[in-house]
């Protein structure tokens, strides 16, 4: 099991999609998750100490994982901890948009892998 602590990796403000002069962005977290995907049965993403997580950051780091893996694979692999309900809703919102857009692109109904 791999634990990714966002506070240690990014800081108290997880704001930007991409790396800036000041900090690493959501794309860095997504790449870390993807690099470690096959090496770990579970990947824990901890929001402990994080004050700000913008919708764009959550989209880039978590929702865009759907470009590589299905929702069911994400559910099995990813554990999101120490997070308030409002941010959970925002993650679900970003995930739902990505899924709908992918579906529109493929023009086929959502499939479950199981």
């Amino acid at each position: 099991m791999l634990i990714l602590n966002l506070f240690d990796l990014i800081g108290e403000h997880c704001s930007d999609r991409h790396e800036s002069e000041q900090s690493k962005g959501g794309s860095y977290i997504r790449e870390l998750i993807l690099e470690n995907w096959d090496k770990n049965d579970k990947i824990v993403l901890s929001f402990k100490g994080v004050k700000t997580a913008t919708p764009s950051f959550l989209d880039e780091s978590i929702a865009k994982l759907l470009l590589a893996h299905s929702l069911d694979e994400l559910k099995r692999k990813l554990v999101v901890t120490d997070i308030e309900e409002k941010k959970k809703i925002e993650i679900n919102r970003r995930v739902s948009f990505r899924l709908k857009q992918l579906q529109d692109e493929k023009n086929q109904p959502l499939h479950k892998t199981e």
């Binding site: 704001s15 919708p55 764009s56 989209d59 959502l110």
Partner: protein, 312 residues
């Protein structure tokens, strides 16, 4: 160079709450109608009160005149020393490098106009510190404000393609517990940006397109790079807090007011119209109530269960 007639800036300069909207729009129209490569005299002697959005508007129009239209500007400075100082310092800092004078020490409830080219969390924290020193609001609202500033800065970087980044400033009004903030850029404008993806919108009213930009997920960028969440998050925040926001982009004007009373509950009013002139870029400004008990809700009933990653 040809010489233009003098343009007077009105005494109370701001589009939003307590501003002087119609007169300010007339001033903007005159400033955007100046012929390229001409000399223009801008008379600010009567300028007595400038709001954050007014500051952004004048900065945007001055940058447009100086750098895009290649005009020369003669400025008659405001007679009001307070405004003159505020204006000079803020402009100085935005264009000509950091000023040695710390404006926050002079104007305790003001965050000076600042140029952002990326999401600078340190600067956003500094801005929020200025706001919080004067007003009492929860840590949750502070964190939401941080998110909104970050999202709006990302919007200007990723969508407007403005080479000057964006300008952000804010002011608190402790006696009425209000925060007013404003962000502007000199980029391609909301309609031009969205019409790249939604081509049918090219023939629509600009103010209607601005309204559509507030819908979650609407973005002109290829969806692999974007989510269209920025303006929606901003709108939700202002609506929950209570207050108003204005978006001025190209020739579109959009305003939304959210008020809450115990007796009538939440009331939302909207105003939108197209202007007879084009503003060079986009201005987003808001005035919000900063009450300690305010809660920012995120709705999730429209997310189908099979599209959810996390259980609540």
């Amino acid at each position: 160079m040809t010489h233009q007639s003098e343009i007077k800036i009105c005494g109370r300069f701001g589009l939003g709450f307590h501003g002087n909207r119609d007169v300010v729009l007339e001033c903007i129209e005159k400033l955007v109608s100046v012929k390229p490569k001409s000399t223009v005299k801008i008379n600010m002697s009567e300028l007595d009160f400038i709001y954050p959005d007014g500051m952004n508007i004048l900065t945007t129009l001055f940058v447009n005149l100086l750098f895009f239209q290649k005009c020369s500007i003669d400025i008659i400075h405001p007679q009001n020393r307070h405004v003159s100082e505020y204006f000079t310092l803020a402009r100085c800092d935005a264009f000509f490098g950091s000023s040695d004078i710390d404006i926050e020490k002079i104007f305790k409830n003001s965050y000076k106009l600042k140029n952002f080219r990326y999401v600078d969390d340190y600067e956003i924290d500094k801005l929020l510190k200025v706001i919080k020193s004067e007003l009492d609001f929860s840590d949750q609202v502070q964190s939401d404000l941080h998110e909104i500033f970050a999202e709006l800065i990302m919007n200007t970087r990723d969508h407007s393609l403005s080479e000057y980044g964006c300008f952000l400033n804010a002011q608190t009004y402790p006696t009425t517990s209000r925060i007013r903030f404003s962000i502007s850029d000199l980029g391609i404008g909301i309609k031009t940006h969205l019409s790249k993806k939604y081509q049918d919108w090219q023939d629509s009213e600009t103010s209607w397109v601005i309204k559509m930009a507030l819908v979650d997920g609407v973005s002109g960028t290829n969806f692999y790079n974007n989510s269209g969440a920025g303006l929606h998050t901003f709108e939700n925040f202002v609506t929950c807090c209570g207050g108003e926001f204005i978006i001025l982009s190209e020739n579109g004007f959009y305003k939304k007011i959210s008020t809450y009373t115990e007796h009538f509950g939440r009331k939302i009013e909207e105003e939108k119209f197209d202007l007879p002139f084009f503003y060079p870029g986009t201005l987003v400004c808001a005035t919000i109530q900063a009450k300690p008990g305010v809660k920012i809700f995120k709705r999730d009933e429209d997310i189908p269960p099979e599209y959810r990653l996390l259980d609540l």
